[in-house]
């Protein structure tokens, strides 16, 4: 496993993402809520660039105790990233596919050395 330079931390703002190439592999690195997350850039659906699309809060439907719906809301805590080919959504913190949590993108470790951010691949 080698460390691949991603970016300077000071130039990698919260909400940003980078795509790094390691041979034929592609890894998407996100910075969200002060943390770094890195996943395979190949969507588990049809192989699209899973990390290159929109990041958007998960949508949830809230129910009252009597089971009536209050409607749709953006989540306060769960951020998703979306494959731009077909809209497949992944959980930013786990890489799980939102519509089937048993499917997970390969996760990579991110390390910081001083101001430098690396992904281990």
């Amino acid at each position: 496993m080698a460390e691949k330079f991603v970016a300077k931390s000071s130039e990698f703002k919260d909400g940003d993402r980078r795509i790094v190439f390691v041979g034929d592999n592609e890894i998407g690195v996100f910075r969200h809520g002060g943390e770094f997350y890195a996943y395979s850039n190949f969507c588990l659906h049809q192989g699209g660039p899973a990390c290159e699309g929109l990041t958007i809060a998960g949508v949830e439907e809230r129910l009252r105790p009597d089971k009536t719906s209050m409607g749709l809301f953006f989540s306060e805590s769960e951020m998703h990233f979306v494959c731009p080919w077909h809209g497949m959504e992944y959980d930013m913190k786990t890489g799980e596919c939102v519509s089937n949590r048993r499917m997970k993108l390969k996760k990579y470790k991110v390390v910081q050395k001083g101001d430098d951010v690396y992904v281990v691949a």
Binding site: G15, D24, F42, Q46, G47, G48, P49, E52, G53, L54, T55, I56, A57, F74, V82, P84, W85, H86, G87, E89
Partner: protein, 417 residues
């Protein structure tokens, strides 16, 4: 370019470049040697609404032409030419090629739609594409029959005289029929049916009271059969317009049901009225309803026919046998349960009756790998479905020696080759 996400937050996404967006599709095609396989996409789209200024001048009637072209004037003209459907195809910008579409750069001097088409075809390894409109798929909902006729006429002239001839031979089409007017539809077949790059004609099925068995259409079908043209039925959603779908509170529901429903309805009427007996040499394709509906309808119609043959006296075999004589486009293929899919493929004789389609650039497009990677298909079935069946149907030649070899190997090399 910034896209709007949650709570007004803006997310910067690179401008659209189809070749870059689909770079993984190219990798897939390369890894599977798909350039050696003739691949025909029988259902791809352009956004003809971006080209109204190109094709509205082809309208024949002076008054209707002036009426539509007036809506194109800048500075306050208020008018809508097409019936607009309610829907969220872009999933709130999650499918980025919708909001970013205008950001894609093309070269001057060549038609934009052709350039964009060639980009995604080259990425996927698609050799030929059957080009369909997008907004015009709702033309059957237009309240003015004469406007439907005029717009189909103008679009078909533009397509056959300007767009298709510039596509380097890689696009063909099944032209839009003004089905509300059977006589006008016949005139379209007589006028455009023999033109280059025309493989047949398409009925847009999002309509009210579409009676495919009506006596008024028999001359039309006969004219197409005589010319060895293909008849296709292209489905679509109609969330706001079809009363039954008003109970659907999510686009997902209306889309899942709508795209299937129209073909279920029209295929039922086609089969039960013995159209397969009346026009046995007319190839028929059912487009963009996925595949899961096919075994459902086969079982349902066979069951009813066994008990009520007096209501379908033209039939000489089971409804499912007539359905197996027809063709189906593959997208959007419900790849959730391989056992169910294998059963579906067997029941529809997919090896000879299924035609690959991408539906690109729409949100639920399928890549050729969706067929190629199916574990239960023989090599022959893969080649047939991806392009061999369509090559026979539309008489399409191979584009390289390897493709020719493969077409010969599986009996799909046509007279056109």
């Amino acid at each position: 370019m910034d896209l709007i996400a949650d709570r007004g937050r803006r997310v910067t996404i690179e401008e659209l470049n189809t070749t870059r967006l689909l770079s993984h599709a190219r990798k897939q095609a390369h890894a599977r040697n798909l350039d050696d396989v003739l691949i025909v996409d029988v259902d791809a789209h352009h956004y003809e609404g971006e080209n109204f200024d190109e094709f509205l001048p082809y309208m024949e009637n002076d008054v209707l032409r002036q009426l539509t072209m007036s809506t194109r004037q800048k500075g306050g003209a208020r008018g809508a030419i097409m019936v607009q459907g309610i829907g969220y195809q872009d999933m709130g910008g999650r499918v980025t090629r919708y909001p970013l579409r205008s950001s894609e750069k093309t070269e001057a001097g060549a038609m934009r739609d052709i350039q964009l088409g060639h980009r995604w075809m080259d990425a996927m390894g698609v050799d030929y594409s059957c080009l369909f409109p997008t907004g015009m798929l709702s033309i059957g909902l237009h309240p003015q029959k004469e406007m439907e006729v005029e717009l189909c006429w103008a679009y078909n002239r533009s397509l056959t005289e300007k767009v298709l001839p510039e596509a380097g031979g890689r696009f063909f089409s099944m032209l839009c029929l003004p089905f509300s007017d059977p006589e006008a539809a016949l005139r379209h077949v007589e006028t455009f049916g023999d033109r280059k790059h025309v493989g047949g004609f398409m009925v847009t099925t999002v309509r009210h009271n579409l009676a495919v068995y009506d006596n008024a259409y028999m001359k039309l079908y006969r004219a197409m059969e005589e010319r060895e043209l293909v008849l296709s039925f292209h489905s679509g959603p109609n969330w706001g317009g079809e009363p039954i779908y008003r109970s659907c509170n999510r686009f997902l529901s209306a889309h899942a049901l709508g795209f299937t429903w129209y073909n279920v309805l029209n295929c039922t009427n086609w089969v039960i009225n013995g159209m397969g007996e009346r026009f046995p040499k007319l190839p028929v394709i059912w487009i963009e309803s996925g595949l899961a509906w096919v075994p459902f309808l086969m079982q349902r119609l066979d069951h009813e026919y066994m008990l009520r043959p007096s209501e379908a006296p033209l039939l000489k075999k089971k409804p499912s046998d007539y359905m197996r004589d027809m063709y189906y486009s593959s997208q959007p293929m419900e790849i959730q349960d391989y056992d169910a899919m294998e059963c579906t493929f067997r029941m529809m004789n997919a090896e000879t009756q299924l035609l690959y389609s991408s539906d690109y650039p729409h949100w639920d497009f399928d890549l050729p790998s969706t067929i190629w990677d199916l574990p239960f298909l023989s090599e022959k079935a893969k080649h047939n479905i991806l392009g061999g069946n369509a090559a026979r149907l539309f008489k399409l030649p191979p584009r390289n020696d390897k493709q020719k070899e493969n077409l010969q190997r599986f009996g799909n090399l046509t007279a056109a080759a």
